[in-house]
Amino acid sequence: MIKRVTEIKKLEILSDNIREDIIKMLVEAGSGHSAGPLGMADVFTALYFNVMNHNPNDPEWKDRDRLILSNGHICPVLYAVLARSGYFAMKELKTLRKLGSILQGHPHRHSAPGIETSTGPLGQGSSVAAGIAYGAKMDKKRFKVFLSMGDGECDEGQCWETFMFAGKNKLDNLIAFIDRNFIQIDGNTEQIMPLEPLADKIKSFNWNVQVIDGNNMKQIISAFSKAKASKGKPSMIICKTIPGKGVSFMERRFEWHGKVPVKDEALKALHEICEHECKLRKWDSQKCKLLINKCGMLE
């Protein structure tokens, strides 16, 4: 079983480390998605180091909680938490999107340990998660199914088919969360295809819905623990996040949805992320300088 990290500050530092990993992966890969993974670093850190029951030494453990990444394009954040929690070596991260890599451009179930299902075509993971949750109920299993979705993804009818199915069948073992960052490829979600009032819509499908600041570790942890206790209804956590969180020139800019930093931008990004980590650690300027120098390296 994974050793749970309970201290909020430690989790926050971990999400900074995850952000570093993401930048390093993306600059090396030369293509992929930046904004989504950075925005969701806090939620994924919380899930893999605090919320979920899982065992990196036994990825096929029958009673593990499952995470389904329906917004498959944000896989760098998943790969980073999988590596940091021990599913595979950190050095694999550098192989993202390269020929022969276990880390495919969009997740593939059989390529790397810890990946439950192949995703990429938006909407698909939602049904798979519902299927697993339904099967778990049939078998009287106690594990939870965590379903990661994008807000732009919710333009897909398949998501709403899942919302209906899960509501009807009272799948209270299903805990979905939406990265409500208000961006998708072509622009702002409310201009491309308005989703609001999103919470009310999903509530009306017979779900429990919480809306939180998805970059606030305390709120994340408490929302998931509430969701885990839900009885009779599936849970939705709408996570309001800042796309590109932690990197000033990426934050809130839809242009960074599917763009990756070039080397100079990556160095600047790493510098900012490490500076933030320093602040969290309350280190003196001398020690900080060392850290920033070290983490700003693209070895």
Binding site: H108, R109, H110, E116, T117, S118, T119, G120, P121, G123, Q124, G125, S126, S127, V128, A129, A130, G131, I132, A133, Y134, G135, A136, M138, D139, K141, G157, Q158, E161, T162, M164, F165
Partner: protein, 319 residues
Amino acid sequence: MKLDLSNLKKEASREGYGRALVKLGEKNKEVVALCCDLTDSTRVELFKKKFPERFIEIGVAEQNMAGIAAGLAMLGKIPFMSSYAVFSPGRNWDQIRVSICYNNVDVKIQGAHAGISVGRDGATHQALEDIAITRVLPNMTVLVPCDSIQAEKATIASASKKGPVYIRLSRTKTPLFTDYNTPFKIGKADIYRSGSDVCIISCGTMVYESLIAADDLAREGIKATVMNCHSIKPIDNDTISSMARKCGAVVTAEEHQINGGLGGAVAEVLGKSCPVPIEMVGVLDTFGESGEPEELIKKYGCTSKEIISSVKAVLKRKR
């Protein structure tokens, strides 16, 4: 093998699927059935009545059904998902491609009401492309049984076949000419009649038409082999190639577009292993329309008549 074509009972192949699901359900509690608001006409009704706790109603949402089936399979279940072929694998092809085939999970897909013989519902409901879109998918097995007893066998065999399986079925009652002793093995084409002038390779409802054609041809002195190629994928390369070599000419017959269907699959095999003249019987790059099944199979050229004329055409090209 001798098949008696006189006084045949008629039954739709979907009936065999319905019976097989119940038999499978009795044997294996991991078998579950999913359906999209079509339980009666897909014959999943029988399973639903017997095992209500293992039947999952999805509503009219074929994409959702494919994903849910994939999720259930990940827990070790053997889900059978049913709808009309135009909707599944038609509507939900992307979900079948990624959630089922790329994941390589044990989901079995029933495409009911395939072919032109669907009848009055018209072109929107007549799947003429489903063989083409399923057989291109990696990991997928594609089966087209020739009558209801073979549909039953194919369904039962699909449960123990690893990975995704597509089973193509028809709506109308067709002659029941195989029996429980007729051999059936996934990946093995069966020879129902031997002759050395031409080899007729067919699947589904067209196997019966091929046998009728072979009878008529025999009266004219033309000796035809009739091969039931129920496994479109994996295809039986050996049997197809050796029969083509023996006969020197091939006619394919299917209730499907000839592009990408059985005709295409056979041409792929023979182009590589034994190029001989081929003529293809099937729907010729067009949509269907409303009408009685018998009227439609005539109008769209899916009867013994077209097989006979194609045999004559291919014999002219034979070297």
